[in-house]
Subunit: 273 residues, 2 copies
């Protein structure tokens, strides 16, 4: 849905949220329908639902230009590679800090332009060191309230686990994991940057396991049981979750390290070499 605009201009953002049941993943479609090309991007596409996403892109007369990930996912295979194969011209985007493969790399402070609209990139480490949050910009034709796509850095009333520092600790000894986690806990303050956004900013996470679809910065500042803690409190919670080994990690991580390109020109095994 389009929301009201800042600065009196008419917002031209078309926005859709999609859900993938098996991994409880949300994918987001954003497009500038005020621009003649109707350029669009997908945030956190899933391999299984690429055809659904592309069917809607076609129905709405959009031109997909970017497939973007918030981080290297460990619970599902990204749809990025399939999207590139099925829609020539689509460029994949991920953070430089993710250490994985893509067409374009972004870092804190960058912007991603589509038509006359743009997303801002913010580093929000925690779940992984390479996690970023994409936030709709503040400017003409952009919606108010703003929208933050937080990946697993901030989930509704929660956040992603920190014990699998994909890709750094995937396939490496547990001792090394602990040293990476130490950096994560130290850098946790950057994730709390989300809380400096206006309180009415809409929070759209990469997952929800209870059926919530959206929250706001103000709500999470009050009720998020993890991110409202200080560094020590956060660390205590995250180190005592005793979570099982992620069931998809051995398939998802090698594939996602090459942005799901396994189905296009590359094999997932490339990453192992």
């Amino acid at each position: 849905s389009t929301t009201s605009s800042s600065g009196g201009s008419k917002p031209t953002l078309l926005f859709r949220q999609f859900f993938e049941k098996d991994s409880s993943t949300y994918t987001y479609l954003l497009a500038d329908v005020g621009h003649p090309d109707r350029p669009a991007l997908l945030v956190d596409p899933v391999d299984k639902t690429v055809d659904r996403d592309l069917a809607l892109v076609k129905d709405l007369g959009l031109k997909l230009i970017y497939a973007i990930n918030t981080h290297v996912h460990a619970d599902h295979v990204t749809g990025t590679g399939l999207l590139k194969g099925k829609t020539p011209g689509v460029k994949s985007i991920i953070s430089k800090a993710s250490n994985s493969k893509a067409d374009c790399f972004v870092e804190h402070g960058d912007t991603i332009n589509f038509g006359n609209l743009f997303l801002e990139v913010r580093s929000t480490p925690g779940h992984t060191l390479g996690c970023v949050t994409y936030v709709t910009g503040d400017g003409p034709n952009l919606p108010q309230p703003r929208m933050a796509f937080t990946g697993d850095a901030l989930l509704i009333r929660g956040c992603g686990r920190t014990d699998f520092q994909v890709p750094f600790n995937y396939d490496i000894p547990p001792a090394r994991i602990l040293s990476i986690q130490a950096v994560v806990f130290k850098d946790f303050k950057f994730t709390r940057w989300i809380f400096t956004l206006p309180k009415d900013t809409l929070v759209y996470p990469a997952h929800d396991y209870k059926g919530f679809t959206v929250s706001t910065v103000g709500e999470e500042m009050l009720y998020n049981p993890r991110l409202t803690k200080d560094e020590e409190g956060f660390k205590n919670i995250m180190q005592n979750l005793n979570l099982p080994y992620p069931k998809m990690i051995d398939i998802a991580v090698p594939a996602n390290m090459v942005c799901g390109l396994q189905d296009v020109t590359e094999k997932a095994s490339v990453v192992a070499s």
Copy 2:
């Protein structure tokens, strides 16, 4: 999210969409946060997720006044009865044509007021004879585009099955079902009333099985494979779906005929008497 308003006034609608995975049901929360009481209503609540819904109502400081159903569901037990038990003062609402039990009955043309906002009630038979669509009104403080809660009368690129005319043909001979279906197909034109709404009206269905969360009237007018047909075409599609017996129907229908009150003061068996 709040959307832009009609008539230049500021929209005061707080809106949330929830998903229940087992039955792929969407529940909707609407509240007038411009009114001092912050009165709220839930559309199509599910029994399993009542505690989640009430937790958010509490977090957001809302006062739940109505639990509303679009129709007698055959695939899940409504949360209405539990909501009434847990939140004194909540009134249940369903259509008069549904032939089931509730505190208030509505029919085509009625309005449901909450604070200074209101929903319009429209008869949209097809999936069941008692199906209604609730549409946000057109007036001060109400959002633009408008929002239509279509139940199973209009699903994204589809519609609910017509072979179980709950409650009429539940437990009755197949011959009688066919005569009720004849009425449904004749009355199908009323469901197409949805297509007289402005094209940018947001369509929020009771279910989606592919992970879509919203559509628009304009989109469905172009791409809905069932509701774009004439009466004869619609009938041909709906009579040849060969769907299995709904797995939850024997539990859901008796419970929903008393608006899920089975857990409060009544037993589901009342309906059998």
